[in-house]
Symmetry: C2
Subunit: 394 residues, 2 copies
């Protein structure tokens, strides 16, 4: 396989917007082109990700529409959909396409425009990733599954609601410094647990998860430009290598898994990504994990090998995963506070890790000079997961 | 790039069914596994194609659901959507994934379940591939665009409605011999033009196109198993090589194209596929073209280089493209009569070409011993196109 590098990144601010989906995606792509110093060099292919472009925005083949809007003809457009891992699936497709030698310049863009939908409609939209016969038709939702999962994990490992809330507190604090984040305000443990007035803003969503344990509903887009690593210097001196990639499927219905608390897809995807990159989990300097719910950041930090099983909440409480900790997790604010425009998320995680490795994250830059970064994006409730290892050295 | 071979094929009958989408897709995949003599060897990845699984069947991440249903864990699932070229996009993804060296056994499956939708709803669903601002919001539909395109082509090249109907007559005749085809009955020029009783069954859809100029609305699925060509002999002795692949995007809005009658995406995609395969158009022995409307088969047969521009209808009338002609086109019945379950079509075209190259097409086997086959799948109204060249020799 040819080594693959990312030479350009772009992203809109995540949050509420009235702008159409394609406008958001174009903004992210144009920023990535500028960042890459692409100039008038043609793009060979466009891999776009969106979960709901057809259902929610009435556009199918969104990659084709995007390539046309950007006047990229004759670039070849493909749209990837993999639920909440749609973005990472597009990243993977871009990596394999360049690795194969078939393309030399690939644009990857994820976008989602969810505004205008009603609350129940959004929950139903997302719930279409669950197992249709075993979960969906019985009313299972993602918050519902996450609540059951959280309760089981808490009971086994002595995790408390306060531990969960520490994820939100950390990630909101990080997001305050990220100009592209959706929820740029601080939240404290005192507010969440001791302030009766604030409690009204933090109702139960799916016991034990409250609103501040759940990511917001966001609009937004993110984009990457990928090229062969040995051609990266033709663009700029800020290239980052996609050193490792792992994508693994697991048993779909959560209740049918051998061990419900084992996020097997996440664990195996990370192992494969590390193996391909030739590194170990302890060599990762910065990570973006899929914290659609606070419990997920804790359990994923164990599944990907950063901490021993049952120790994720301990490391969190000890500030090891804070921006200035030994292993910063979600310095961008994560899904929890940066936001979660579904199809954009997997791409934006990689964008954020690239930013950190380049040392260009500004106010939310992690300390030291990170050399290796990691991202994991979940499809469904971990029915599959895509893990990526990025390195500063090509 | 590693050479890629197809060692297994499968397909359901196309047509009306009450069976769910995943059942159809599983049937096609299991047949492909048997055909490949896969045994207990694990599949590395699943590339599934469906245009409307979320909108029409309430399932997102259909590749993930399919991989789970087939117990393929830890295989990595990705879903491709590219309008009516979704199937070919999945084929392309499978080819590049094996070519890259990242995967050794890739399952490609396309499926669509459109029954249950109302007439207008189906037309609207398909129309989401048109340009949103320039076409869709003004009520443009695929039959509408095809009608305008047909009239313009007819005026310039002296093509008649009777010429268009010859595509239907030929493809219905072929479909009668294909046990998996949707419309397995004959239709004659006499019925279509001289029989007042039959005329009721053939109303205008979009002048000059009548019902028998349009493909039916079908359900169905098709599947392929791909491996590196140098490993094909481990499976069976019926492997076919994916020798060429071309995927090209064009201007989206039909009215904005430099020459509306030039199916540029088709033309350039074919050129690229031939170049990669190191062959010329005249070396193709059998082809499956995207005849969603009769006019398209005629114009595509010119765009891909089989006949000079404006000569497609002449070759058709001379029976050159009949099953026993010098260059059989759509011996399976094509989209027109085999049927067009949107996401399945691009995969099924390749399945049908493989069948012909193996000499296993039974009653609809073309004469001679075809060595090279070709398929082209259109996204939108040729806003992009994927062309594939398949060869008997590895």
């Amino acid at each position: 396989m040819r080594a693959v590098a990312i030479v350009g990144i772009g992203a809109t601010r995540f949050g509420r917007t009235e702008r159409p989906l394609l406008d958001l995606m174009c903004d992210a792509c144009l920023e990535a082109f500028d960042d890459a110093q692409l100039g008038d060099r043609p793009v060979d292919a466009v891999y776009a990700a969106s979960m709901g472009a057809l259902r929610n925005n009435h556009i199918s083949a969104v990659a084709s529409a995007l390539a046309d809007r950007l006047c990229l003809q004759p670039a070849a457009p493909d749209t990837l959909e993999n639920g909440s891992a749609s973005g990472a699936s597009a990243v993977k497709s871009g990596v394999l396409a360049v690795a194969s030698g078939y393309y030399d310049r690939v644009l990857v863009c994820g976008g989602e425009r969810m505004r205008g939908m009603q609350g129940v409609d959004i929950t139903d939209f997302i719930a279409t990733v669950t197992h249709r016969e075993a979960e969906y038709i019985y009313g299972a939702t993602l918050p519902g599954l996450a609540g059951l999962f959280a309760r089981a994990h808490m009971q086994r490992y002595g995790v408390t609601q306060r531990d969960l809330a520490r994820v939100a507190v950390k990630n909101h604090r990080n997001a305050m410094l990220n100009p592209r984040a959706h929820l740029r305000f601080e939240v404290t443990l005192e507010q969440l647990f001791d302030d009766p007035h604030f409690a009204k803003r933090n109702p139960l969503v799916a016991d034990p998860l409250r609103r501040f344990d759940c990511c917001p509903v966001s609009d937004g887009a993110a984009a990457l430009l990928m090229v062969p690593a040995d051609q990266a210097a033709r663009y700029n001196d800020r290239a980052v290598r996609v050193a490792g990639l792992g994508h693994v499927g697991a048993v779909h219905a959560v209740s049918a898994r051998a061990n419900m608390l084992d996020l097997e897809a996440v664990r195996l995807a990370a192992e494969r990504a590390y193996a391909l990159a030739g590194i170990q989990a302890k060599q990762i300097d910065v990570a973006e994990l899929h914290d659609a719910f606070t419990i997920l950041e804790i359990v994923e930090s164990e599944a990907v090998g950063f901490f021993d099983r049952g120790q994720g909440h301990v490391a969190l409480a000890a500030n090891e995963t804070a921006r200035d900790g030994s292993l910063p997790i979600n310095p961008s604010g994560g899904l929890k506070a940066r936001g979660h425009p579904v199809g954009a998320t997997g791409v934006s995680q990689v964008v954020e890790v690239v930013r950190q490795l380049r040392g260009e994250a500004g106010g939310y830059q992690v300390s030291g000079s990170p050399q290796a970064g990691f991202a994991v994006n979940l499809g469904g409730f971990s029915s599959n997961a895509v893990a990526t290892v990025l390195t500063r050295s090509l």
